[in-house]
Amino acid sequence: MSDLTVPVSEADHIQGSAQATVTLLEYGDYQCPYCGQAYGIIKDLQAALGGKLRFVFRNFPLTKAHPYAELAAEAAEAAAAAGKFWEMHDTLYENQRALSEESIVEFARKLGLDVPQFAEDIEKRRFRSRVRKDFMNGVKSGVSGTPGFFINGEKYDESWDYDTLLSALSRLSG
């Protein structure tokens, strides 16, 4: 129904080079099992497409359905403040069924984050507005559920299984 209302910028979490020919953007929820599936598929796509693909992740926690989704999103943003967004993003998806207040602090410790600082960021909800901003930008761009994908800024409504996504991305990546 719509295209991306907020273009990719330095404020985003980006993997891959700005010279990449195709950008896949995901609005995701760390507790959503479909996003958990998509996580593995995206890793495989990155391996297959290499430097041609740029991947961007934005928060879209469905907090009423997934009680730890908001906490996890804020945890990833807190890790981002210490330069470890992707490490936390990956850890959260790889431990999707074990999300809790305790496990998130444990993840922070394992990633070598400053745990008291991290715990304070979470406690004071320092990244709540950042997460909400992502969410609302997603809603206004027509994201209706997770995972919500955009390819080069255009909403992608086809199946997101590996083969279908790979051919959609390959068509554009040249």
Binding site: M1, S2, L62, T63, K64, A65, F135, M136, V139, K140, S141, G142, V143, S144, G145
Partner: protein, 164 residues
Amino acid sequence: MSALTTATPLQPGTMAPDFTLATTPDQKVSLSEFRGRPVVLAFYPADWSPVCGDQLGLYNELKEEFDRYDAVLIGISVDGIWCHLAFAKERAFHFPLLSDFEPKGATAKAYGVYRAKEGETERALFVIDREGAIRWSYVSPIGINPGADGILRELERLAGNSAK
């Protein structure tokens, strides 16, 4: 209207037909109670079906936004009130679900969004202004979650129009 053709939803500019429907075993809700506030009507085919859950789940995340526009959000399907109660409780919905149950689908028919063959309503959205006129309507393909971007755009436009 023929039962075989796709229903045509009431169009912008039409006064929204009033209705009084049950939301709990001992509570009814009328559209006219909300005169003076924007109202969003979300007709959906059935409680519990996955897309509806996602669609209503998304709206459930937008309480702040609806509050900001002083807007009332109402879900309507042909399900009975006990079904609605269990569904709303399980999903922790913060908005009422109304039961267009008897006579079945009468409200959906008045809005032009009843699917006689299936005995369910279309997946249809209406934004109604403070004076009770329909300002925007949209019928989504039945299996597609229409999201909230259209609703929010219309509420923003209404807010802009009523600002001094």
